[in-house]
Amino acid sequence: MPGSPQRLPSAPVSVSSIGNRSSVARYIVKRLLWTVVTLVVITAVAYFLFRVLPSGDPVRARAGKAPTQERLDAIRESLGLDNPWYQQLGDFLWNAAHFDFGRSYISGAELRPLMLDALGATAWLVVGAAIVWLGAAAVVGTISALRRGTLPDRVAMGGALVAISAPVYWLGLVALYLFAKDIGQFGIFPGAGAYQDATTVLDKAGAMILPWLVLAAAFSAVYARLLRSSLLETMQEDYIRTARAKGLTERRVIFRHATRSAVTPLVTALGVDVGLLIGGNAILTESVFNIPGLGRLSFDAIQRGDVATIQATVLFLAFFVCISSLIVDLLYALIDPRVKYE
């Protein structure tokens, strides 16, 4: 769901047949082919969704006031909209495969540089937030697990539940009201729109402080809870008792033996969440802080009925979701050797 971390557990990777090197290769090829099929189907669905459902005629939108029939026909032809639907769809996919995403129906601007700029802003937001939430979750989750049932644990887990329940856009507004330089009660950080005005990398990072913290809040909570329960479960394994019996220091037992297997579920979650956030779910944070990212780009396109931009961004966003789930599955196998490929 928009902007909030996915709390529903994902299905376990299927375990079957004995995995060896060639089956890994076959698995990767299969997954890649399936990714291509997925992207084609999604593009087709998006095409019909936004073309068939009434969302305004792009030709009329470009033609200006009281256009003549000749002018309408000319624009329709120049946009390729007089071709049958399968040809339009095929052309789009063929061009997209060559990294040409066409032009906006409304502004006529080329879409590739537009989308790459937006991707830069979104990636800047999401990657920074991910670092914040991983750091916060590592500290809070570990302490909570090791001091289970104590006051710090209870306070941390209570706070985590509040953070999960807070809508991210509201948290953003509250943060701006309190801390933004222009309107805040305690103006310490750059406010909304600072990112668009920033020129240096340092300014950009400064403009992102509030968005990073706000976006990371709920994710920190989810990851801290995940790490805590995963650590608690791992600490009861036999090999941990063995490690202790060998006379290893508690520090070494926890950080070298327990943590390594306890982070596995976090890796899975991280891949999925980053993919989904870059794939459009950061839109709520982007709209509160005026960050010109991919979510905003597609949202504006939908509201203007700019089908060309919608189509290109949908394909682009779906690509990130698919790729991240592919990487997660492969990483998972790398970390956890028990996973076999189908």
Binding site: P2, L8, T38, V41, L49, G149, L173, Y177, N281, F299
Partner: protein
């Protein structure tokens, strides 16, 4: 217990919102009271007549927050029910029949998961702004429920499918089959009852998520009709003036936060009760 009590309170508020507003002597949620605006046309803060202040059009914020519970609860219940039913049925069929049926349904599930959900939501809402598919899908609440269900059923389907795959190999299924039970009877009378516990836990995870989803869609301006008071839409309306009129932004947000928090606490408790191994509360 406090959380459960709060949920009951919110539900009661949702049901009796008109009565409560009358009894408290508040303005109607859509009544634009010019007198509540100051000389410059800006809204006034909390006062005895308007405990939560008024919004930029002079509408009483408390009354709108109370009415906002209606949309939240309605969407939470309907969208969760639709999601659970669709996901459970598809998951049951895929897990029980396996083979080709399962392959098709599983691919379909994966496709849905890869589709940028928020774009689907915004797209459907914008496209259906004046009723689409010949009026079958009306704008507002129906679209919101449709969007939420469309994007969250795959998670339920995947969970159910996994459980059914192992349940269908159990002896009681063989026993039922040897007694001549039909597939339908085995699926719905033998296997489904064994899924009650995980399904209840899942529903309690979904409800707060769906409340947030409705609010998020309304915040983006593609949720319920603008005239209907919704917490998400109120927060969105407050964006232009929240630096001066903090009450307009704070109260609907707090209401949303508390409602979602209450459901999350109850959900966590239920999860611990059903699956005591997780030790989430640390007792």
């Amino acid at each position: 217990m406090v959380a459960l009590a709060f949920i009951v309170l919110v539900i009661l508020i949702a049901i009796f919102a008109p009565v409560i507003v009358k009894v408290m002597g508040l303005d109607d949620p859509n009544f634009q009271n010019d007198e509540a605006l100051n000389d410059f046309g800006s809204p006034n803060g909390p006062s005895s007549a308007h405990p939560f202040g008024v919004d930029d059009r002079g509408r009483d914020v408390l009354a709108r927050v109370l009415y906002g519970a209606r949309v939240s609860m309605l969407v939470a219940v309907i969208a969760t029910a639709v999601t659970m039913i669709v996901g459970t049925v598809l998951g049951l069929i895929a897990g029980f029949y396996r083979g080709k049926v399962d392959a098709v349904l599983s691919r379909f599930t994966e496709l849905t998961l890869a589709f940028p959900t928020i774009l689907l939501g915004i797209g459907l809402s914008v496209a259906c702004a004046d009723a689409c598919l010949g009026g079958a899908i009306k704008p507002g609440l129906t679209v919101v429920v449709l969007v939420i269900s469309l994007t969250s059923w795959p998670y339920v389907a995947r969970l159910v499918r996994g459980q059914v795959l192992s349940l269908r190999e159990k002896e009681f299924v063989d026993a039922a089959r040897s007694l001549g039970a039909s597939d339908r009877r085995i699926i719905f009378r033998e296997i489904l009852p064994n899924l009650t516990a995980p399904l209840i836990v899942y529903a309690t995870v979904l409800i707060p998520q769906n409340i947030l989803a409705e609010a998020a869609l309304s915040f983006l301006g593609v949720g319920v009709n603008p005239s209907t008071p919704s917490w998400g839409a109120m927060i969105s309306d407050a964006i232009s003036i929240f630096d001066t009129a903090w009450w307009f932004m704070v109260f609907p947000g707090v209401a949303l936060l508390l409602a979602v928090l209450a459901f999350n606490i109850v959900g966590d408790g239920l999860q611990d009760a059903i699956n005591p191994r997780t030790g989430r509360t640390g007792k």
